[in-house]
Amino acid sequence: MKRYFRELSVLGALAAVLVGMAIFAPAFFSPQPLLSLLTREAPTLVVACGMACVIITRQIDISVGSMFSVCSVCAGLLAARGWPLLLVLPASVALGALLGAVNGLLVAGLRLPSIVVTLATMVTLRQGLNLVRQGEFVNLPDRIQWFGLSQMAGQLVLVGASVVFLVALALAMRHVAAGRFVYAVGTDAEAARLAGIRPQLVTFLVFIFIGALTGLAAMMNLAQSPQVQPLSGAGLELKVIAAVVVGGVAISGGRGNLWGAFTGLLLLACVSPALIHLHIEAYWEKAIQGAIILLAVVADGLRARGLNR
């Protein structure tokens, strides 16, 4: 109970928001829009899982937004050329993994600071994409949408698949040795080395992992609409990092879990629809999100001080 205090308090905050919504705007809970909301957030959730792993290893990746855009556009172009879905999906994941491997090589191989490396790759990828595509939309063939299923089924598949994925990954982070290696490297890389783990390899693989997940997320996004906009990943990195941090994953590595990241993402994702339901003007949104992030870290800080006393 005490160990999951942080996750539970975010869950509490989410519950409070939901209860508030139930009282003041019960329409929030009508099933179809809620499913739509979850469908929209599913790709972000997948990226957030990867980001949680990266931050747990005491690194950060701010190039996910650009990777997402690149994967979306490339996958879209392949699909538009008539590639079957069964090939486009692995191609997108592989491309993401490749881009992640570049980050991983620079961070783990050359021991460069991840924040600057991924800043550089973010700018490079984004501008490269702009250069090549000049902002043009990619029009997709019909069968890509909802993987050729009906819309309802497609939504359920997407949400279901991402929830299964999340649960599987969250369990794996706890119950498979590889997941524990990630934690071990994040809390103390030297102790990990003494315990026979190879910290640089773990870091490298984690960057590949987030890349692959970003490729997957791009694919999940692709399936939701008949067009891809090259800007589609803009701002994704900050959204995901904020969600992960609000969910209790410590930026100093080694602490937190995917359940928290998941809850944090839902909390932040609720802000915008909640404002709409409560008929609050849109221009308060960013300030409220910033305040939530600050509240979460201040709470962390106060708690840490309490522990140290």
Binding site: I60, L106, L110, R111, L112, P113, I115, V116, V117, L119, A120, T121, M122, V123, T124, L125, R126, Q127, G128, N130, L131, Q134, L238, I241, A242, V245, I251, S252, E281, A282, Y283, W284, E285, K286, A287, I288, Q289, G290, A291, I293, L294, V297, V298, D300, G301, L302, A304, R305
Partner: protein, 350 residues
């Protein structure tokens, strides 16, 4: 080895010439010469146009003032091993506050500007107090204020209000020349001089560096660590406010989206200038060179006929800036990696 105070080791010269800042200076000169020759032409009317004109050089200066100021603000922050993601948003917030104080508050421009500077410092103080009093990681604190400051700017203006119709005497700061240079360049140079002296010539800068290398070591040396850290973030807020005023004067308008994304350019310039994101090492002249390298690249590309035909100056400069940053980073760790290999293969003497 004994100490000989008077003589300079000839090796020092070699070291000096291969320092990061020097390398960057060579890159900058090469860049400039390239664009001078490849980006200058004579147009239909027989006028010399393009990169080689004095006007273009002034424009480069003018365009790099705001990002340059933010980069100056970030240099001490990064030297203390911190980061401030919120300064771009703070630029927007300060621009709005300035506009509102002047337009709605009925204050004169100087009073409004003074108040804006104070508010900028205050906003920096929010970052500072969260970081020092609660010992929170700067990355996350300033990620939060990044959203908060921009959000407040949008909330104050409902996103839509734009403050305009500033008096010509104010627009002079952003659009005219004074003593031969664009007016804001004087402000920029003044701030650069101030920050440069602070970082390189005073005990404050010494303390920043010490904290960046080893906060514990600084504490054991009796340095006031929290106060110095606070100073750095407050200063960043203050400079962001100065940048906001210059931005407003250059465009003649204050709007909530001012400075969006500037923090990334500023960080890029600082890191390119040789300041280590791990703290401790870094210089203001390096930052200035970094800002200049990016600005020349961006403006020079826009003057190249081939890039013009592709209509892609913006993207090309972004792409090349990212690549340049990666290159600079790799170059900075190369000696360490080489020496790691060397020590692995030769057992240490003795």
């Amino acid at each position: 080895m004994s100490v000989s105070p008077g003589t300079k080791n000839p090796r020092d010269w070699k070291a000096l010439l291969t320092r990061h800042e020097m390398l960057l200076l060579y890159v900058l000169i090469a860049e400039w010469l390239f664009f001078y020759f490849a980006g200058t032409t004579t147009n239909r009317r027989g006028v010399v146009v393009g990169f080689g004109t004095l006007d273009r050089q002034f424009d480069i200066l003018r365009h790099s003032c705001e990002i340059g100021l933010l980069a100056l603000a970030l240099t001490p922050v990064i030297i203390t091993a911190g980061i401030d993601l919120s300064i771009g948003s703070l630029l927007g917030l300060c621009a709005i506050l300035f506009g509102k104080l002047w337009h709605d508050g009925g204050l004169t421009i100087p009073v409004a500007a003074g108040l804006t500077l104070a508010l900028g410092a205050l906003a920096g103080g929010i970052n500072a107090s969260l970081i020092t009093a609660l010992r929170l990681p700067p990355l996350i604190v300033t990620l939060g204020t990044y959203s908060l400051f921009r959000g407040l700017a949008e909330a104050i203006t409902h996103g839509a209000i734009t403050y305009t119709d500033f008096p010509a005497s104010f627009l002079f700061v952003g659009q005219e020349r004074w003593l031969g240079l664009p007016t804001q360049a004087w402000v920029f140079l003044g701030v650069a001089l101030g920050v440069g002296l602070l970082v390189h010539r005073t005990t404050f800068g010494r303390a920043f560096r010490t904290i960046g290398f080893s906060p514990e070591g600084a504490r054991y040396a009796g340095l006031p660590v929290a106060r110095r850290l606070a100073l750095v973030y407050v200063l960043a807020g203050l400079i962001a406010a100065i940048a906001a005023i210059i931005y407003t004067a250059r465009l003649g308008q204050a709007k909530a989206d001012a400075g969006t994304g500037y923090e990334l350019f500023a960080i890029t310039a600082v890191v390119l200038g040789g300041t280590s994101i791990f703290g401790g090492t870094g210089s203001v002249h390096g930052t200035l060179l970094g800002v200049a390298a990016i600005a020349v690249l961006k403006n020079g590309l826009a003057c190249l006929p081939v890039v013009m035909r592709m209509n892609a100056a913006e993207e090309m400069s972004g792409l090349l800036t990212g690549a340049l940053l990666l290159l600079a980073l790799t170059a900075s760790v190369l000696p360490k990696i080489l020496s790691r290999f060397r020590t692995r293969h030769h057992a240490p003497a003795l």
